[in-house]
Structure formats: C-alpha cells, structure tokens
C-alpha cells in the first residue's frame, strides 16, 4: 500500500450511489479493467475515459450509497483512481473499498476546500491532506482494519490468514 498519494482531483457532489458508479447490468463482471470501461457511464458515455485522466476522486456526503455491490470500488480502482476523499461514505462502500484495497479518506474540511482539477496530496502515515499549502488532518482507519488495506485487500489478507493454514 502506498502511504503517499498525490494527484489531480475530480469532484462529485453528495449521495453518489453505487448504481451510478457501476450499473447493475455490469455486475456480471468482477475484473477491474472490464468494470472500469463502464464506470460512471450513467452520467455520460465519455465518463470512463474522462475519469482516467484524474488520480483522486473527491466527493460530498454519503459516497457509494445504495447497493452493497463490491464492484463499485473495483470499478474505481480499475480507472486508475488511487484514492477517494469524501465528506462521508456509505457503510457498505466503506467496507468494500477497504476489502478491495482502495484508499478512502473521510475529511469534510478538505472536500469543502478542493475544486475540480486541483492537486492534492494525502499522507496516510501522518493522516494529513495537503492542498494549496494548507493541511487538513483526518482520522485514520482503525489499526485492526488497516491491516487489510496494507495487504492490498481482504482476499490477500484472507489468503495469508487461512484458518488451519
């Protein structure tokens, strides 16, 4: 897991639901590359290509609400997005992102300050987002859960911790 993430921001509003992130008809796939081709397609056919040019998604409240589909975080990873910073996450998306090894950061203050196209950097060790020379601290994911993220997701974690293995 990278502890330092920096890049250009694409910004969304509140309540981006998981049907928007990846439509139900594509749940027949589980591969990141295949899912990424259709990510956010409901917002426009050009969205998957457009989002590939960004590194970090910044969003408002309740990002990933709705369906528990894990492919929502997989599709975002497939786009090459390295982190999602939101004012808050829906709980199933929050879990799925950790289990998928996608970095997520809850930081309403940074979300309020950032505009689309801005650059920001995230320091996961210090728990700090830097934007325009200002720092925005955020609460770290609980240590017991962070272990899953550090190993790149739950499948890897499970493989390393199989009962009886």
């Amino acid at each position: 897991m990278d502890t330092q993430i920096a890049g250009r921001v694409f910004k969304f509003g509140d309540n981006v639901n998981s049907d928007i992130i990846i439509a139900g008809r594509y749940l027949i796939y589980i591969e990141p590359a295949e899912l990424a081709k259709h990510a956010f397609e409901m917002l426009g056919a050009d969205f998957p290509e457009k989002l590939r040019k960004y590194d970090i998604i910044v969003a408002g409240r309740n990002f990933g609400c709705g369906s528990a589909r894990e492919q929502a975080s997989t599709a975002i990873k497939g786009l090459g997005i390295r982190a999602v910073v939101a004012a808050s996450f829906a709980r199933t998306f929050y879990r799925n992102a950790i289990n998928d090894g996608l970095t997520i950061v809850e930081c309403p203050e940074a979300v309020a300050a950032v505009s689309e196209g801005d650059n920001l950097s995230i320091d996961l060790v210090k728990g700090l987002i830097t934007h325009d020379d200002r720092g925005y601290p955020f609460a770290q994911i609980p240590a017991s859960v962070r272990r899953i993220l550090e190993l790149g997701g739950l499948a890897n974690y499970l493989k390393a911790n199989l009962p009886g293995a």
Binding site: L27, A90, T92, N99
Partner: protein, 419 residues
C-alpha cells in the same frame, strides 16, 4: 448503563459481556446469505485456495435477481453457485424458482429474532422486521465469513423512532418510509441502527414491518429493529418456528439513543420519491397527472402477498390504461401460489397486468427495461438513474396503492380517489 438491541446482539455474537456504540468487535453471524452474487464469492474462495467452510449450516444461497438465467453468462454463474451448494452440502439452497432471497429466507424460517445475519445485499436490514440484525456486505467479505465464520463490525449508535396513531385509508408503511427518508435524507441514519416503537407497531402487519425495515436502508441504516411481539410470534409460528426456537432481544429501558423522533401516522399522506434519488420525496398531490409508461408492482420492499391484495382491490372492476405496461412480479413462489389460490393474480391479470415469474424482476433490470424518455412508477426501493434501463428514463417510487391508482389513470394518481 442500558443497552440498545444492536449493542446486545453484537455483544452476544462476539462473545463479549457487553459492548457499546463505537467499539469494533469480531462478530460471528448466525447466517450468511448470498444471492445472485454467490458465484463471485465462490471465485474468491478458489482464488485464495480455501477449501473448508466454517460451518455449512450458516450459509444460505438463493438464486434471485436474474432468474431464470437470461444469458449464457448468467447460466454459467448460476451453475457455479449450484455446484458449490451441492459440493459443500448447503442445505439452505434455493434455486431460480424460489423468489427474492430476503423473502424466501423469512418464509422458510431461516431468520430468527436475535440473530445476526450478513449477506451480499444492502436490504438485509429487512430482517429487522423479525427482530434480527441484518446488514449488507460485499462478496469478498462473504467469502471471508464463509471461511472464518466472523467479520469485524463497528457497534452502531442507535436512533429511536416512535410511531403513534394510525394510517389514514390508502396510506401505508411505504408512505411512512418515503416521508422519513425525505425528512432525514439518504444518510440520515448512516452507520446507525434504527429501532422502531410506538402504539402503531402492534397494529402493523409483519408484511408492513418488512417494508419499513427494507426501506430504512435508503436512509443509510446499518440495521433496523422492530421488537418482536405477538404478530411476530404468529408469523414465525406460521413459518415453522415455535417460540422455543428463538430468543428475542429487547433494548433496556435506559438504553442510550443518539436521537429520538416521533411521527404521527394519521398526519401522513401518500408519498412518492421523484427521480433520481429516494430522498427526493413529495406528497402525491404535488405530482398528480405526470404521465407514466410503465408501472412495477414487486420487489423485496413491496412484492409481498398483502401488497398484491391492495393493488388488486383498487383495480377490481377497473382497467389498466392501455398506454401503461403494468408489470406484476410476486416476491416469491409462496406469494405467487397464495395469490393464485385466492384469485388475486387472476383479478390483476383481468385488469390488464402482466404477471411474471417470482423474483427481483424489473427492480434488478431483469425484464421491464425502459427506453429513452420513458417514465415508470415502481413499488421498489430505488429510483437511481438507469436502474431500470435507459439513463434517459426516470423512475418514481410509491406504495402499491398509488401504483394501482396510477395505472388506472395512466398517470400519477392519488389512491384516496379509489377507496
């Protein structure tokens, strides 16, 4: 200090004496449900090389969503799930004829008060209708629970919702929930447990409670509880569970709630959720007359027997407007059978409904897709953009009564006109 229902259940399932909101525990669910997503969990199991389940009796698999298989890919995925269930001796396996997983599991006595259930579906909150803690997780996490028997859970804080008074005619649990979601917002109960109380609860059928617990997901609830009472016990007895088989969990009188809210049901009117967010709710009076091309009566929120009866009553002796495709999908095989025997299906068909096989149907985009510019009215729980077809179509949500009134008019209509 007193404990909420969520705190008590999570303490008991994690082997702790007591836990409080905010703590993270390792909990052992009584049941892990998986639906159409089962093959994905099987593929994770193969990928990591796991060969043993923690306890095959804790798995339940129901092949809903797209049933029967619509494409070769679905057929292959269903075969993967079917073979897995056979090879691992999963007794609680239901094939494509059974219906929507949530309803099938409750109908077959697999959900007990006080249980902890996780599964590959956000609407697992519905099990709260029977006093069980249900919560959705992703497919990789399902594999993890299959293999290890446990998962980490944060003990949620709770809100207390007190329902008093009685619904006016043609107003129901769906209207209440649309009202609440509009009021509290899509994350108004985010990460929290919602406990329902009040003198309206004993009057509420278990079917209505299922609508409440199901829809509460759309305000972000992690889990929902309607404490078991005589109606719950009767439902459970009718579905093969006598009181000795379960232990209901109730909150302490001095349990700590983050917030308390009371609602007078007699003040509510029929509500609709307008495109493209469930929280975008309005009273029906604000949108009456909006033309619809399709209507859907079904889903885990409102595809139950009582829901079909409500619609059939309003439609009795009346006709579906020829401009509307009215799709009725019974939630399960048992519901379909009951509706056949009682004549409800015949009556709906004679009024002009298209009745499909049981399952998720149009709610999951399995049939009933909409074209550009079309408008649909649905009793399901989500109206997200593109969920039922074209991203240029739009979905309104309402109760079964409002759907029945609207298919008669060919436009959004007030059900109070028809009673």
């Amino acid at each position: 200090m007193g404990k909420t229902i969520a705190e008590k259940i999570l303490a008991s399932k994690s082997g702790a004496r007591a836990v409080s909101a905010g703590e993270i525990v390792d909990a052992y669910p009584d049941l892990v449900m998986s639906h159409t997503a089962t093959w994905r969990s099987v593929s994770v199991m193969r990928k990591i090389g796991a060969t043993k389940l923690f306890d095959p009796d804790r798995l339940a698999i129901v092949l809903d969503h797209v049933s029967p298989a619509k494409t070769e890919k679905y057929a292959q995925d269903q075969q993967t799930s079917r073979n897995f269930a056979r090879d691992f001796g999963i007794a609680k396996f239901y094939d494509v004829d059974a219906g929507i997983a949530h309803l099938v599991l409750m109908e077959n006595g697999h959900i007990k008060p006080g249980d902890l259930i996780v599964g590959t579906d956000s609407h697992c909150t519905i099990y709260g209708a029977l006093g069980a803690l249900g919560s959705g997780i992703g497919y990789t996490e399902v594999t993890s629970v299959w293999v290890t028997g446990k998962l980490w859970m944060k003990v949620p804080s709770s809100i207390r919702l007190v329902l008093n008074g009685a619904f006016l005619p043609a107003v129901s649990a769906k209207d209440l929930m649309l009202y609440l979601i509009g009021d509290l917002g899509a994350d108004g109960c985010g990460y929290k447990s919602a406990e329902f109380y009040g003198d309206a609860i004993p009057q509420m059928s278990v079917s209505e409670r299922m609508t409440v617990a199901n829809m509460a997901m759309e305000m972000g609830s992690k889990c929902v509880f309607i404490p078991p009472d005589a109606a719950t016990r009767e439902y459970l007895a009718n579905h093969g569970l006598d009181p000795a088989a379960y232990q209901p969990v109730y909150a302490d009188a001095d349990a700590v709630y983050e917030r308390e809210l009371s609602i007078d049901l007699s003040k509510l009117e029929p509500m609709v959720a307008c495109p493209h967010q469930v929280e975008n709710t309005k009273p029906i009076s604000a949108v009456v007359g909006t033309r619809i091309d399709q209507a859907f009566l079904g889903s885990c929120a409102n595809g139950k027997y009582e829901d079909l009866v409500v619609a059939a009553r309003i439609l009795s002796g009346r006709r579906v407007d020829p401009r509307v495709r009215f799709i009725v999908t019974p939630g399960s095989k048992q519901i379909m059978l009951e509706a056949m025997k009682s004549g409800v299906l015949q009556s709906l068909i004679e009024s002009g409904a298209l009745v499909t096989n049981p399952g998720c149907g149009a709610c999951a985009g399995d049939g009933g897709m909409m074209a550009d510019g079309e408008v649909s009215l649905s009793t399901a729980n989500r109206n997200f953009i593109g969920r039922m077809g074209s991203s240029k179509s739009s979905i309104y949500l309402s109760s079964p009564a409002t759907v029945a009134a609207s298919v008669i008019k060919g436009a959004l209509a007030d059900p109070r006109e028809f009673i």
